[in-house]
Structure formats: C-alpha cells, structure tokens
Subunit: 230 residues, 2 copies
C-alpha cells in the first residue's frame, strides 16, 4: 500500500492518461523512486477531487500533503526526498528549468493544440466533450475545427520547433546532461501528449530528437512506453 | 597589470566590440570579479592571434592558459575560480545552459542575421568587409542584401521569438533565478549584438524582456551599457 496518489487526466479510456503536465509528474515520481497510485479521471471530475483543491491536474497527495502543478510538485519532491536522485541538480538547474518550461509552453504547446485539439476532444467521454468544446472554443476564440484547419501544415512545421533540442543533443544525451532531469520530463510530457492522443509523426528523418524521445520512453521501467501510441 | 587578455571583435571603431559570443565572456569575467584587458580586433586579424589558436573569438589568455569558445571559457572560469560566484550554480545549471545556448543559436541568431547582416558589414573596416561579404554570401547562399530583403518584417517578428523569456520573467527576474547566471549572458549577448550593430527596436510595448535587458546592461558596473547603442 502506498500513501501517494497522483490524480491525472484521461478520456473515456482510463488506461490512456494523456495530460502533458501529469506525464511530467509520473516521470518525476519514478525518477525519485517513489511508488504511487495513479488515478486518471475526466476533466469534469477534477473539481470534485480532494475538496476542490485544484481546478487542474496533476494533484499529488503524499500522506498529509497535497501539492498541485507539475513544477511545484517537482520542487516539493526534491525538498521532501533529498536522498533520492535530484530532479534539478542544484539551484541553477531549478531556475533554468523554468526557462525550459516557458519554452515548451510557448513554443510546443500552442503548436500541438493547432493540430491535436480535435483529437483530444474525440477521446473524451461525452460529459467532458461538452466541457472541452465550450472552454476551448472560448479560449481560442474559434471552433476546434477552425483551430485545426491547417493540421497537416502544422504537423509538417513541428520538427523545426524542436531545433533547440536537436542542437543541444550534439553536446549531451539529455537536457539534464548525461542523465535526465525534470527539464527532460517537461519536454517529454509535451511529446508524449502527442503520442497518446494523436500519433502524429512530429519528428524529422533520422531525427536525434526522436532518439532522445525513445530514450525517455524507456526510462524508469519504460513507464512512458506502457501506454501505446495512438 | 592583469595577466588576463580577452581577444574580441570590432569593426573600424575598436571602442565598439559587438560579437555576441565575446559579450558573453565579458560578462562572465565580470561576474567572477576578474580583471582583464579586452583587445577588440578585426575578423581578419583573429588567425594572427596567439599563433592561430582559434579561428573565432572569444579567446581568453589567462596566464599560461588559452581557452576559446564562450561556453568553454565559462566552464573554465568556474573550475579555475571556484571561490568566485558561480556562473552555473551546479551541474544541472551547466547542462541546462546548453539548452539555453542552443535555443539562442537556433532561434535568435538566425533571425538577427536576417535583419542585421548588412549593418554588421557596414561597421567593418575595408579589409574585413571583403572577407565578411564573401564568407557570409557563401554561408547563406545569397547576397547580404538578399538576406536582409525583408528587414522590417523580420524586426517586427522578433518580439514573438522572445516569448519564452517573457513567460519565464513571470516567475523570476533572471534566467538564473534571483540573480543572473551564464544563461542570462548567453541571451544578453545576442541582444547586445543587435544594440551595438543595428539599434533596431526588438522589444514589444511595455515588454518585461526589455526590463530584463536593461537590468543586464546595468550589471557589473554597467559594463554592457559602456558601449552606446547604434
């Protein structure tokens, strides 16, 4: 029995959690060698969890503690379990991980939305579909179908957005250096999201970023690979 | 008398060193509190320095040691002067700084070239102009004027490229966190390059990235501000 519960996100199939932010936390917990029970749920079920602690997942219950937000959870885990392998390797690593998160959020996530937001909708259960369509239509100011109107072109343009990772891989095998850190899980989360919901091929030919992603899928008992690609 | 010499780059006016990579090293040395003599020189003078040690600047002579490449120099300085403030704050900071460098090199530098390569040419001395025009025409596969044909549009598109920095500044005042690290100097170098050679306004309205850049200009005795904008 574990006292740790990770609340995460799924569509109608609860064996296929897809949230990029929750995947960051799954690999963070695995990195620290901590066991946990993952409870994937619908978007609309989140407000009913832990007395409405957070509107978004991941939410981690660790004994008496509740923590939300993947970055906050990673900071918490490194504080609470200092003897397990660090997710940041020092204060500089913490600060620079915010830049990696900001890059992923402003470069990768909006691009993924433009080709995959309909795919997300389609794997949700009926109740979530209404919520998702309404909230995202409001967010984007257009219908989901309009957001993804240039789907093929967006997918074709995606490999170029990975160029900073590609160049970095000429120096080292992970963003964290010789081994992965939370910064790797940040970018992995975005690409695993694509893998689970859409299956779009977002890499170039003979792409070292694909090789890095495959290495990440194999980490920690191949936890990422345990959910098959769409 | 200092035993440290930084070989850097200038045009016909040697009081206006402009290389982004050399600016990274200027602030790295200042960060460590190390005095040094800067020797700005023409592109075509570099192969004659220190028996042809490097085809590119920065080159740092520190007593008996010669080090090239701004990242290698930063690593060297942290190793050689461990009691001075760190440029990386730990191993994670070192690894993630490679990502920041890769982002800057693949996102900012190519965009800057597209609006400023003629500006660079125009501040060079006669001998360098020939070298620069020939080598860059070969590199880009087109004339300098063709490279900058959409100059105004490239400048207008530039603020969006700074979005990862902009979002990060919602969490912390420097890429390094509460205070700057080499990662800040990497991005500063690119924007200082623009400031010295071109003077193009590359920020948005009320842009927090401009505020960060101004903070960087003020660091270490306002070393960056000592060269006025073009």
């Amino acid at each position: 029995m574990t006292s740790r519960t990770l609340y995460s996100l799924c569509g109608s199939d609860n064996s296929r959690p897809f949230s990029p932010h929750c995947w960051k936390t799954v690999l963070s917990l695995a990195h620290k060698g901590l066991d946990f029970e993952e409870r994937p749920m619908a978007f609309t079920a989140i407000p009913g969890v832990e007395n409405g602690f957070s509107k978004t997942v991941p939410i981690l219950r660790d004994g008496d503690r509740l923590v939300k937000d993947s970055f906050e959870i990673a900071l918490y885990l490194d504080d609470a379990y200092p003897d397990a392998p660090s997710l940041f390797n020092g204060e500089g690593g913490k600060s620079l991980a915010r830049f990696v998160e900001s890059w992923s959020q402003t470069t990768l996530h909006p691009a993924i939305a433009k080709f995959a937001v309909v795919d997300i909708h389609d794997i949700l259960d009926e109740q979530d579909r209404n919520y998702f369509r309404e909230s995202r239509t409001r967010l984007f100011g257009k219908t989901l179908e309009e957001v993804t109107a240039n789907r093929d072109a967006e997918i074709a343009a995606f490999p170029a957005k990975l160029e900073p990772i590609r160049r970095m891989l000429g120096f080292q095998p992970f963003i964290g250096g010789e081994s992965p850190l939370f910064a790797d899980y940040i970018v992995f989360g975005a690409l695993q999201w694509v893998r689970v919901i859409s299956g779009a091929d977002i890499f170039g030919r003979n792409d070292p970023v694909r090789d890095w992603f495959e290495r990440c899928l194999d980490l920690h008992g191949a936890r990422g690979r345990s959910v098959t690609a769409a």
